[in-house]
């Protein structure tokens, strides 16, 4: 009886502790969102939304300043899309190889390697892009700027690839072996089993890994700050120098700006936009995953 009572109090304390901990993280998030949107509101008291969302020049510290955010948005999307061309197919390909083709030994060798790769700080990838990828691109395409979106995208793609591979492989390995056996027994080749049975069965996990990779690419700061340039350009040409939303924010944060100034507020308004883009992406992903869910 006594013992049971003690257990109950213990459980209660643990429960309250856990609630407290999760409340802290929720409150922090709410705090960040409120700050973002409050400063954005202030920003829009001075700059019209129409200018912000429709004009094509981003020069907040110039005289006269202009506040067209589209160049930053296009820069971010360019990096996200181009890096996805590398990380998603190669990541999924690696995952398929690892889970369906590789021998156990091979898998045990490669899996930790992938996780190691995923742990390299992004600044290293940034310098790798600037000192290795960029010269390579310029050798093939001499007109390329020293700072360009392509080089940064390749580096971001390589950086996010291990994460896609590792998470997708986890999802594919989680598909019960009995299903795999069933497919082989019906006369499927390895590739057919992988593409027609395992990948669809693991779809929600794979989609989640894709989502995470794209979110990482959108939020990636160091690589783009180092290798993509600091020229807000509204362009889809990956060989030009561009600036992304995060690139702009880090650039501003490094200079000295006065609190309450319009430059100060631009950082928050861009941050808010970044937040909304990531949120929208999350919702889309949730929807896609829900629609294609296969339970087993």
């Amino acid at each position: 009886m006594e013992k049971r009572k003690r257990h109950q109090t213990e459980e209660k304390i643990i429960e309250i502790g856990l609630i407290l901990v999760s409340t802290i993280s929720i409150l922090t998030t709410i705090g960040i969102v409120i700050t973002l949107f409050y400063e954005s509101y202030e920003f829009f008291m001075e700059v019209s939304m129409i200018e912000f969302f429709t004009t094509l020049r981003w020069a907040p510290v110039f005289d006269p300043p202009s506040f067209g955010v589209l160049p930053l948005l296009s820069g971010t999307l360019l990096i996200a899309v181009l890096s996805s061309f590398i990380s998603l197919p190669l990541g999924l390909g690696s995952a398929i190889y690892l889970s369906e083709f590789a021998s156990k030994k091979m898998r045990q060798l490669i899996k930790p390697l992938l996780e190691l790769l995923a742990g390299i700080p992004s600044i290293v990838y940034g310098f790798f892009a600037l000192t290795f990828i960029t010269p390579l691109i310029r050798q093939i395409l001499p007109d390329t700027s020293v700072y360009n979106a392509l080089s940064a995208s390749i580096a971001v793609g390589i950086m996010t690839l291990p994460m896609v591979a590792s998470l997708s492989e986890d999802a594919m390995m989680a598909v019960p072996d009995s299903i795999r056996q069933g497919a082989y027994a019906l006369g499927s080749t390895r590739l057919e089993v992988a593409l027609h049975v395992i990948v669809p069965a693991a779809f929600s996990g794979i989609a989640a890994s894709f989502m995470l990779a794209i979110s990482r690419a959108i939020g990636e700061t160091m690589i783009v700050a180092i290798a993509a340039g600091q020229t807000p350009t509204f362009t889809l040409n990956p060989l030009e120098s561009i600036q992304t939303m995060t690139g702009f924010m880090v650039n501003m944060a490094l200079g000295d700006i006065q609190q309450g100034s319009i430059e100060f507020k631009t950082v928050f308004v861009v941050g808010a936009l970044l937040f909304l883009v990531t949120l929208a992406l999350n919702f889309i992903a949730k929807f896609v995953i829900q629609k294609n869910r296969e339970v087993y």
Binding site: S178, Q181, E294
Partner: protein
């Protein structure tokens, strides 16, 4: 009486462990052959040699000969995809794909691409009918296979195997996860199926073997102790160990 499959001097190894020892057996066409024996005696291993499923396990080796209508199944260069199309398999636990009922039935056909699209609907219907599942699912072919009960799932797996038009059906304890009613359904079904197919079934139930099979093989420690007409094996076994096993004196 025709031999569909002829097994001669079959030895099988998992690494260094010999799981089958000098097996000789004739599988007769359009008959049901039951394989019985205590757990771990090699029944599953034996049927897995016939569609080369053991290829998927590292370190396995089979020697001797398994001749299927004159084709040597243990030939290294054999096209196993074609083989598995001709020799279908149903597993102990129902293992439908996480797809719709219809997609499950059509899976093999889509991979092999040998049935025109215009005949798919008909194939789904006939396969499900043969597995006596049609009336239960005809209005929900697009629903997930996981919405079915265990017994229905197992019949779906049978339909899925039948859809590729195999000649032989291997069944590894297909009713062990099912209740008596679902089991009775599948046993009834087997009676129908043997008109068109040759069936090899592993079972832990003596009654089931006695009820449904024409031939019975008794395995013990990787050896085939006794093989013959079910009637004979059950009423008049030649080996003492067979008799002991059948009468439940060891297990």
């Amino acid at each position: 009486m025709t031999n569909k499959i002829k097994v001669e001097h079959l030895d099988f190894y998992y690494g260094n462990f010999q799981a089958l020892k000098d097996i000789n057996m004739d599988i007769h066409q359009n008959k049901i052959t039951a394989l019985i024996g205590p757990s771990g005696c090699g029944k599953s291993t034996f049927i897995k040699t016939m569609n080369r499923m053991f290829d998927l396990i590292d370190g396995t080796k089979a020697t001797g000969s398994i001749s299927f209508d004159g084709t040597e199944l243990l030939d290294k260069n054999l096209d196993v995809v074609q083989l598995r199309k001709r020799i279908g398999m149903v597993f102990q636990k129902p293992n439908p794909f996480p797809k719709s009922i219809e997609e499950n039935v059509l899976y093999g056909v889509k991979r092999h691409g040998d049935v025109p699209k215009s005949e798919w609907d008909e194939l789904v219907k006939t396969s499900l009918k043969k597995a006596s599942l049609w009336t239960e699912v005809e209005h929900k072919l697009n629903q997930s296979a996981f919405s079915l009960s265990g017994g229905q799932q197992q019949r779906l797996c049978i339909a899925r195997a039948l859809a590729t038009k195999p000649e032989v059906l291997l069944m590894d304890e297909p009713t062990s996860a099912l209740d008596p009613i679902a089991t009775a359904k599948i046993e009834e079904l087997l009676e129908e199926l043997k008109k068109e197919y040759t069936v090899i079934i592993v079972t832990h139930s003596m009654q089931q073997a006695a009820r449904i099979s024409d031939y019975t093989g008794f395995f013990l420690n990787g050896e085939l102790i006794e093989f013959g007409l079910t009637k004979t094996v059950f009423s008049n076994p030649t080996d003492k160990r067979t008799e002991d096993y059948i009468t439940g004196r060891f297990g």
